[in-house]
């Protein structure tokens, strides 16, 4: 039972760490104004995307 508990604990910790890390990255990225940089690209026709180059 100890072994099972330990493995389960690892899985849960990895899930929580991943969730927290994701939230931290969102906060930093938003603080850096990253959304504004790709917004400028997204509101213009992307010539690369459509095959103009």
């Amino acid at each position: 039972m100890l072994k099972a508990t330990g493995r389960a604990g690892q899985v849960q910790v990895s899930t929580i760490i991943t969730l927290l890390l994701a939230l931290i990255l969102i906060f930093i990225g938003f603080s850096n104004g990253e959304h504004r940089s790709y917004f400028q690209k997204a509101v213009m026709i992307c010539t690369q995307c459509i095959g103009l180059g």
Partner: protein, 308 residues
């Protein structure tokens, strides 16, 4: 034998339609030939959806990643005097917001966005319904999408610079068939001025799109399994995500119904919930023994403790 199909199958179909329409609800763009330029494009959808589609309301996460990385072209860390300045420069050069957003989705539901919300994945599934002989293709191809994620989404936009030290979105430019289908083809039809400028690159991308769509008739979701960098990003999260699929192997009668239903041709008893699994739940819905179920890491973590 009673019908093995449960409502889940239809729910997923309608979820795919709803996601496709809600991501591309600016329908007037198909009339005017112009793309949406409103505030919603500050946000990304969790799936591959070209922001140059005339109807797209949101940004594409893979496009946004490349734009951020490419915008940092020519970054010279040695020119920065302090460690703090260097760390700040690095953090503003990486697509942390998009990575965090995708990681949040992945941490909760793994690769489910691919199975439930991706317009291009759904289109491939529709093509695969055309009655023809079906094939699996070599399993080793699944590693290609990880190479594409690293090389075309990160390395080339960061290091393949033009004379002005600017990078470009290499995946969008050379590969993305969703961009060609949703952006390139409609805009080429709607804007004669653009159509007149199309050259070898459009020919290459249209050919690639044609190959992938033709392959999708015979092979289940070939782009998702072998090429999609977003699938490569989400895949590993299946190992740690809050929600997962549990399979009771002990009760399996090896009927093969689950593997036949899998939209990415997995050997379900051995590969369910692997990095290739789209979490679509088709397998759960057809299993005659109801051996597959959704659970959380927490609920299934300590069965022995639960029994006490």
């Amino acid at each position: 034998m009673h019908s093995m199909h449960r409502p889940g199958l239809k729910i997923r179909f309608w979820s795919q339609i709803a996601a496709t329409i809600s991501s591309n609800a600016y329908l007037i763009g198909f009339k005017t030939g112009n793309i949406y330029t409103g505030v919603l494009k500050h946000g990304c959808v969790p799936t591959l959806n070209c922001y140059s589609c005339p109807a797209a309301l949101f940004a594409c996460p893979i496009g946004a990643m490349q734009v951020t990385v490419a915008g940092a072209g020519g970054l010279d860390l040695t020119a920065l005097p302090t460690i703090g300045a260097r760390l700040t420069a690095i953090s503003t050069s990486l697509p942390l917001l998009v990575i965090g957003f995708l990681a949040l989705i992945g941490s909760i539901v793994g690769r489910a966005a691919c199975g439930w919300a991706c317009p291009f994945g759904w289109f491939q599934e529709l093509l695969n319904r055309i009655p023809t002989p079906k094939f699996n293709g070599p399993k080793v191809f699944k590693y290609l999408k990880y190479v594409i994620l690293i090389v075309f989404v990160f390395l080339l936009p960061a290091f393949w610079l033009d004379e002005y030290d600017g990078g470009e979105p290499s995946f969008c430019k050379y590969i993305c068939p969703a961009g060609t289908l949703e952006g390139g083809v409609p805009l080429a039809i709607l804007q004669p001025s653009l159509r007149s400028q199309l050259g070898w690159l459009f020919t290459w991308k249209a050919t690639l799109l044609g190959i992938i769509l033709l392959a999708a008739v015979f092979i289940r979701r070939p782009f998702c399994r072998w090429v999609c960098p977003l699938g490569a990003f989400y895949g590993p999260f299946n190992r740690v995500s809050l929600f997962k699929i549990e399979f009771n192997k002990a009760g399996c009668i090896e009927c093969g119904a689950c593997s036949r239903a899998c939209p990415v041709s997995l050997d379900v008893p051995r590969e369910v919930d692997s990095a290739e699994c789209l979490r679509c739940l088709e397998c759960r819905d057809v299993c005659p023994k109801s051996l597959l179920k959704i659970s959380t890491r927490a609920s299934s973590a300590c069965p022995e403790l639960k029994q006490q």
